[in-house]
């Protein structure tokens, strides 16, 4: 047996890795080879010493010392989670357009089949807002909105209180604006026109009709809805049918972006959609003809811009740097124009 081979046996013996046969081999060699015997004794001594190294313990409890940091991690995670959801929604601004457009078609078509009268405007809210604009629509997790968007919360709540379980949303107190909306719509005959004006969203055929956030647009809107024959018909859907559709096309309905078609409700209830910048430093609120920029931390109004034309304004999105945002205005002709406001410039 060669000494180098024995070297490994020695080492493995130090780790109790030898079987009986190997151990015998080793021992036999050691009786014959003084050099190996000497080395083995030294290594054995070393290994024994290493095994007796003190099992040191920390002088203080390390876990106690990091508890505050662990708490901070928990808090960070909680906020990161909500942030993540919000950003996820923001991203949809650019990607969901085509899907939403398809959803609109589904709505328009399904609604066109039905000619009976509705006595509930809430169903309209769902349908109209879903189809009112195909560009800004984006999906949302209903639960997110409870945190992020007051106006949408109310809408969501309204849907729930009126529906038969197509949506599952936590109940909230019914806001006055919506209540008002429901009341007016129950007056027979006026339902379609009134409820539409309340929401101030261009009904269904988004490019052929438009309404305005201001009261003066009411007449204009009525004009518009008369022109679009099928629009009026669509307004006369019974609630149940609407809900059925909503349930079938649940995913599409869920894609409703809170800022879409919220203008009317916003002006009436002063519950406005806050469009947060990606860095969340500021948010934009569109209120009638005014676009206002607020600081998130203080809710202080930083700047305002007046829209130059009359029409329904909708927030489109922020750039990733939070330096500019885009909104679009659909005028009474159904013309949609996009505008970019750069925060670093004096004029839009």
């Amino acid at each position: 047996m060669i000494c180098t081979e024995v070297g490994e046996l020695m080492q493995r013996q130090l780790d109790y890795d030898l079987n009986e046969q190997e151990l015998t081999l080793l021992m036999n060699h050691l009786t014959e080879c003084d050099a190996c015997k000497d080395l083995f004794e030294k290594l054995t001594l070393l290994s024994g010493s290493l095994e007796q190294l003190p099992r040191v313990t920390p002088s203080v409890s390390i876990v106690d010392s990091i508890l505050p940091e662990l708490d901070a991690i928990d808090r960070q995670r909680a906020t990161a989670q909500s942030k993540h959801k919000r950003y996820a929604r923001m991203r949809w601004i650019t990607t969901a357009a085509s899907v939403a457009a398809a959803a609109s078609v589904v709505f328009i078509m399904s609604m066109g089949w039905n000619g009976s009268r509705s006595d509930n405007s809430v169903a309209y809210d769902v349908a109209i807002s879903s189809s009112s604009d195909t560009r800004v629509a984006q999906p949302f997790d209903v639960s997110n909105l409870f945190r992020d968007n007051e106006a949408m919360m109310e809408r969501a709540n309204d849907i729930q209180t009126e529906s038969t379980g197509a949506y599952t949303i936590e109940p909230l107190s019914t806001p006055s604006g919506i209540t008002h909306n429901t009341d007016t719509s129950t007056t027979e005959g006026n339902a379609s026109g009134q409820s539409s004006v309340k929401t101030n969203t261009p009904p269904l055929a988004s490019d052929s009709n438009a309404s305005d956030a201001s009261d003066q647009s009411r007449n204009e809107f009525d004009e518009g809805s008369k022109q679009g024959g099928f629009v009026k018909k669509d307004m006369e859907k019974p609630e149940q049918e609407m809900l059925g559709i909503a349930a079938v096309t649940e995913n599409e309905a869920d894609m409703e972006e809170p800022s879409t078609g919220m203008l009317g409700i916003a002006t009436e209830t002063s519950e406005l959609a806050k469009n947060y910048s990606p860095d969340e430093e500021v948010y934009v609120v569109i209120e009638g003809h005014t676009i206002a920029l607020y600081e998130t931390s203080s809710n202080e109004q930083l700047r305002t811009w007046e829209m130059s034309i009359t029409g329904t304004a909708q927030f489109v999105g922020w750039d990733s740097e939070s330096q500019s945002f885009i909104y679009e205005v659909t005028d009474v002709e159904g013309q949609t124009n996009r505008y970019t406001i750069n925060l670093n410039e004096q004029n839009e």
Binding site: G7, E8, Q11, R12, L14, D15, Y16, D17, E20, L23, T24, M27, N28, L30, T31, K37, F40, E41, K42, L43, T44, L45, L46, S47, G48, S49, L50, E51, Q52, L53, P54, R55, V56, T57, P58, S59, V60, S61, I62, V63, S65, I66, L67, E69, L70, I73, D74
Partner: protein, 233 residues
Amino acid sequence: MICFIVVESINEKLYYLTKIISNKNNDNSYKAATFKHITSSIRLHERGSFHVVEPSLIKSAQSGDREALVTLLREIENHVYRTAYYILNNEQDALDASQEALIRIYTKIDTYEEKAQFKTWVQRIVTNICIDKFRRSKPTVSIEEHELVFQEKSNVEHDVLAAFAMDDIRQAIEQLPEHHRTVVVLRYLQDFSYNEIAASLDLPLNTVKSYLFRARQQLQQLLQDYQKGGVRG
């Protein structure tokens, strides 16, 4: 179960012990050395370094039970610290590394998979952090400082059987390359098997063996130099 392993292991050694003593060879000095070695390894096991974290505790911690997770950290904190202490050879660095490791375990507990042993998963985290620290900072601790820390903070065990002074051993371990040092620490301070070391360091089994064997040879050489009054460090 743990007790069973220990008992079995001790029995095994007693068995070898009898075998050796009854062996026909009559070399007394070799018998004595082997005997001492075996008894010391039995003593090692009696010191109770075997500790297994309850799988149910890990499960609770993974499912989001914060209290369970903190309890889990408390159970492993000494093991984490011990490894860090012997790799970094400095109390403050060891505390820092242990904190970092425990925080990482806290945030990554959901990535632990049962197919790995929990203790090897933990040691992988702490050794990675230590090796990182080790690479970033050149050893600046003087012998005096390190001895001071050692006497102040550690539970120094005076063992007349130990042939080498503990300080010498720690000094020698510090001379080892990082991977050799880490293997030695896991073998002797965590009582890991070759396989457990391999799993912790993500190294092939043969590499673990060769590191460990080479490390022991280097240590032996260093300690011999120390004893002969050679230059330390």
